[in-house]
């Protein structure tokens, strides 16, 4: 049995930890204790499983993408259909878990940050389900480019608070959510949407999301009688990737590939590839790879996919990179758009722009593999929210 990570202070090797202002430390310690309490609590787990199944629609299918496989002419490609989850992405797995925990802790208010709006919608949904007051912080730039998700949050009764500082994207929304949490910490639960932030968030979000990988393992064994050769997932903060990777960590023959956003190209500086081209630093409560300048000031990230537009990455991914357990690559906006259209037209599945990054890398890799090899893509979300942006791009290029 290998030692499980993180350690009791939230470290994954040299990464992670709890770099938070003192006002938040007691709340983080309280949260950690509460979470450790429910981890093995049968009643809590039963509730959580109930909502995942009857409310979120799990398990999600593992679908063999026959036409995409045929087109690429290499490895067999399976899609883990998180896009079919309630609210349209994997984010609901985590928000149901955290909202149930908030309820256990007697907190009636929740706050969240969001980039693409998927986590915002998933939090707004869980808040409506459990009768909680919900505020979501979202960058002004993202409010414009992900308008459909803003409408959904408002319909669900959530207040969307625009954030105009910095580049008005996910990083700034997270800064503002942390500030608000400091001010409301006594009665408010902060629902972080990814495997980042101070301990215990990276561990807790990973565990709530690991349902994806657990199902995938069972499903691929049933379909193929063996484990996959490669698992591919997109990485912003890294929650969908960690969710599918984690149950395969000790299956060393399974290669895990995280796909970061290369935006307009790494050499342009306009990208969100924290692992591929960042340096280790401390932001939002954890030590991890960060896009930053030589003075330790954090750079603004860029990606066409709002959900990947983040200058950091979950600390456990940094650890997987440093230890070599997972490989981290990147694809550009242009490649992601091509993959977006390819999956739409060959499989009738419109992927989220974020998930399209995983598809794009698969399109490069699959032709190089044998026909008897297996790739699983975590199709983390659906692309309705991106339809407008893609349509504009298609019309411009006409």
């Amino acid at each position: 049995m290998k030692k499980s990570l993180p350690d009791n202070q939230g470290h994954f090797g040299d990464f992670g930890g709890r770099y938070a202002a003192e006002t938040l430390m007691p709340a983080l310690i309280e949260l950690e204790a509460a979470y450790n309490g429910v981890k093995k609590d049968k009643a809590f787990q039963k509730d959580f499983q109930y909502y995942l199944k009857q409310y979120a629609g799990r398990e999600t299918p593992l679908y063999f993408a026959a036409r995409l496989t045929e087109k690429l002419g290499g490895a067999k490609i399976y899609l883990k259909r998180e896009d079919l989850s309630h609210t349209g992405s994997h984010k609901i797995n985590n928000t149901l878990g955290q909202a149930l925990l908030a309820q256990r802790m007697g907190k009636k208010k929740v706050i969240a940050e969001t980039g693409a709006g998927q986590h915002g919608v998933a939090t707004a949904t869980a808040a409506a389900l459990f009768g909680m007051e919900c505020h979501v912080f979202m960058g002004e730039e993202d409010i414009v480019r992900q308008a459909p998700n803003v409408f959904r949050m408002k319909i669900l009764g959530t207040e969307v608070i625009p954030v105009s500082s910095g580049t008005a994207t996910l990083k700034d929304a997270m800064n503002e959510a942390m500030r608000q949490w400091v001010a409301r910490v006594r009665d408010t639960f902060y629902v972080i949407g990814t495997t980042a932030g101070p301990h215990p968030y990276p561990m807790m979000v990973r565990n709530f999301q690991s349902i994806i990988g657990k199902e995938t393992k069972k499903q691929i064994l049933k379909a193929e009688g063996r484990l996959p050769d490669v698992i591919i997932a997109c990485i912003g903060g890294g929650s969908n990737a960690m969710g599918i990777f984690y149950p395969f960590v000790h299956d060393v023959m399974v290669k895990m590939i995280g796909v970061e956003a290369a935006g307009k190209g790494i050499s342009t500086g306009l990208h969100a590839s924290s692992i591929s081209s960042g340096k280790i630093g401390v932001l939002h409560g954890n030590k991890t790879y960060l896009l930053q300048d030589e003075n330790g000031q954090v750079h603004d990230a860029y990606s066409i996919a709002a959900g990947l537009d983040y200058p950091g990455v979950g600390p456990e991914h940094s650890y997987f990179h440093a230890s070599g357990r997972a490989e981290y690559v990147n694809v550009t906006d242009e490649e992601a758009i091509e993959a977006f259209l390819t999956l739409s037209r060959f499989e009738g599945i419109i992927p989220a722009m974020e998930s399209a990054h995983a598809v794009a890398y698969t399109m490069k890799l699959a032709p190089k593999l044998d026909k008897n090899q297996i790739i699983i893509i975590n199709l983390s979300g659906r692309g309705d929210k991106d339809a407008q942006v893609i349509t504009e791009i298609m019309e411009r290029s006409r």
């Binding site: 202070q9 930890g17 709890r18 770099y19 938070a20 202002a21 003192e22 006002t23 430390m25 007691p26 709340a27 500082s165 910095g166 990083k171 800064n175 942390m178 500030r179 400091v182 001010a183 910490v185 006594r186 340096k279 630093g281 401390v282 932001l283 939002h284 409560g285 030590k287 960060l290 930053q292 030589e294 003075n295 330790g296 000031q297 954090v298």
Partner: protein, 264 residues
């Protein structure tokens, strides 16, 4: 005895309270910061907190966020700020605490930072996002050189944590008088009284109070219970409003003197 301890002892003997001013280095520019420091030193300020700007100041309210952004555009890097402290030491022995976030220090290198800070004449460091659980990486270097590692206590901090924090801290404890980020609400003197006496039952370290003190009257009320008070956002705002004006320094001086008079 270091400058901070020395100053606090000296004030205590006289029955006075420490007046601590925070300013963001590099706002409106590094040269102006030097002039502002010169003026504060002559206007009754006992200890200086020099803010090292960071791109993502998650514990700060809008005033200091904006000042940090302006300062970053004026090249207020950690290295330049250490040079600035060196220049202050040419004319003043005022105790200086660097106040900031961990990442700029981490990237600079903890050991190199401690060495250069000591050479420049820095007396203490306060790293907002470095709780004692994570502090070893920096503190072993600052401790070795006798730089005080100043810690924050919040209204939410339990007695047990206060004990742990005090055991790791030096210089003084900084009590955050509001549950919120800097400069966003007003501290309640009655709460501050209770909290400071709670802290003082646990530790012998001096306790100063800050976050949200905007007027000399508020400072006077709070100073009754504390060993000192910190003025931050209110002063940063004054600088912002008078930046580029001929009487900025005169205004800063009279602002500081009003606080000095009020807290006695």
């Amino acid at each position: 005895m270091g400058r901070i301890e020395d100053k606090l002892h000296h004030l205590k003997r006289k029955g006075e309270k420490a007046l601590i001013f925070y300013l963001t280095a590099g706002d409106p520019g590094l040269e102006e910061t030097l002039e502002i420091i010169r003026c504060l030193d002559m206007s009754g300020v006992d200890i200086l907190e020099i803010g090292v700007p960071f791109s993502d100041p998650t514990a700060d309210g809008p005033v200091i966020q904006a000042a940090s952004q302006r300062a970053l555009k004026k090249n207020a890097t950690l290295s330049n700020i250490l040079d600035l402290v060196g220049k202050v030491r040419l004319f003043s022995e005022i105790p200086i605490v660097l106040f900031g976030y961990f990442n700029p220090i981490f990237i600079y290198g903890c050991e190199k930072f401690a060495r250069r800070a000591k050479e420049a004449g820095v007396d203490g460091v306060l790293v907002v996002d470095l709780p004692f659980e994570e502090s070893h990486e920096l503190k072993r270097h600052t401790d070795a050189l006798g730089i005080d590692f100043i810690a924050l206590i919040a209204p939410t901090t339990s007695d047990e944590r206060i004990r742990n924090i005090s055991a790791h801290a030096g210089g003084f404890l900084y009590y955050i008088s509001i549950t919120g980020v800097t400069g966003t609400s007003k501290p309640q003197p009655d709460d501050v009284r209770k909290e400071v006496s709670r802290i003082k039952k646990i530790t012998a370290l001096p306790v100063v109070v800050g976050f949200g003190i905007t007027t000399p009257q508020e400072a006077a009320q709070i100073a009754v219970w504390a060993d000192g008070i910190v003025v931050g956002s209110a002063f940063v705002k004054l600088i912002e409003e008078n930046s580029g004006k001929a009487d900025m320094i005169a205004k800063a001086a009279s602002f500081a003197k009003d606080f000095d008079k009020a807290i006695g």
